[in-house]
Subunit: 265 residues, 2 copies
């Protein structure tokens, strides 16, 4: 059981930022990653569609015999966490709960900003969970739909990233927001532009490390930690999608060239 891999799933490639943090925090754990590159992005879609696709991902990952599951996508974590848990007989970690706990502990002003996809922002899950985590906390949200294509097109250092960050984030300045949740797993790649957009005094909270930490705690508590060796599998629903090219940026290391083509529908 301990030697079974951890299943990590995402709408596409953004979840690789979470996979990277898990690989660093738990270097002995094997991973099976699956990204729905045939249907990415999920962020602009409706809740019914996101839930349907998320359940297909959850069923695929269960069929790989995993000991725990990480929902490495904010949109799925916002829209369909109960549906995924109901379909998963093993423990499930999402990216939102650990990130909310980290942000609630970090703020001094009690004013937290959240950026994410349209689906995540519309769901209202961050304001709700932040309010539960810390009484009286104020949450300001903004959807940033252009950040995903900018990250996927490797334009994070291009002027277009700064322009859109200014457009989306200038409203956070002079609001008392001292902590900004990067509520989409693509956004850590745009940290430089986002930091410039909100100003130097705002702390950016990335889901990846809190999620990896929550997973480590969960595995330790359940006595499920492996002593290695780690093996990695990378599965995608469209193998022609520029997964390898993007994966290099996201993982900060080369993914093994073998990417498995899988069917989710």
């Amino acid at each position: 059981m301990r030697r079974l891999p951890i299943g990590i799933f995402d709408s596409g490639v953004g979840g690789l930022t979470v996979a990277r943090a898990v690989m660093r925090r738990l270097p002995n754990e094997s991973l099976v990653y699956v990204g729905d590159t045939a249907r990415v992005p999920y962020g602009p879609r409706g809740a019914e569609t996101v839930t349907r696709f998320a359940l297909q991902l959850a069923r695929f990952i269960q069929a790989q015999r995993v000991k725990a599951v990480v929902i490495a996508c904010n949109t799925i974590s916002a829209i369909a966490p109960e549906a995924v848990r109901a379909a998963s007989p093993v423990p499930v970690v999402d990216v939102i709960a650990p990130t909310v706990a980290t942000a609630a502990a970090a703020t001094r002003t009690g004013c937290i900003g959240v950026i994410g996809t349209v689906a995540t922002v519309t769901s209202g899950i961050y304001p709700r969970l932040l309010g539960q985590a810390r009484a009286g906390v104020e949450t300001l949200q903004h959807a940033c739909p252009m950040f995903v294509p900018i990250a996927e097109e490797n334009l994070a250092e291009h002027q277009v990233a700064d322009l859109m960050a200014e457009e989306y984030l200038h409203g956070f300045r002079e609001t008392g927001v001292d902590t900004l949740i990067l509520g989409c797993t693509h956004y850590p790649l745009l940290k430089r532009a986002i930091g410039k957009g909100v100003g130097p005094d705002v702390r950016l909270i990335d889901s990846a490390e809190p999620t990896a930490e929550a997973l480590a705690n969960l595995l330790a508590a359940a006595d499920l930690l492996s002593d290695g060796p780690a093996r990695y599998r990378w599965c995608v629903s469209d193998p022609s999608y520029k997964f390898l090219q993007i994966a290099g940026h996201f993982l900060g290391r080369r993914v093994e060239p073998e990417v498995e083509a899988v069917t989710l529908e």
Copy 2:
């Protein structure tokens, strides 16, 4: 038979620019439009995935009892025109052949630029068909992946459109290109920025009018023209996708508020 509708299909909303041209050119014709808003965009995906999705669209549109079909998407027209024709017992018009004929007739220098999605540009269909249409024509291509999200986010008049147009199009200047094919049905919305990017002496060729004209000729030749009245149906695979909001910009008129949710898989 003449009163049957024309089926128009697209990966999402871009095909509405073609639907608009058909509605203007053939005001007595009824239309059934279907956009795969659950899986848009197709442009970054591989040929196998695009073909699979295109066949599902083609089968859906046949089941609506149509007298002709318009593939209102450059990516599908580039990757899967034969597969769609094989699955369609009625005449099929794609957006590429009519546009190639128009561009080949328009150029004076014999040097034609083509912009489109990664899938369309990689397919090489425009250089191949332009070469067949006019001997000795030279074709220069460039993929412009950010133009689709810019159009869908209603940022065509924003500085970001000018910035990306400069990035993608500056290479066309001083090349002899006098004619630029807008090889994606989203791009007509960015005509202002694209025109600025390539410079004032380049003629922009939009697929919509040539495609509507080709359809009109085909219907007239087959004695399939209707004398009305026109009725319109708008079908989407994700009804929550901001179809109505985008449709307003694309059609230049309001779509009737009834959008039908349909299943393509």
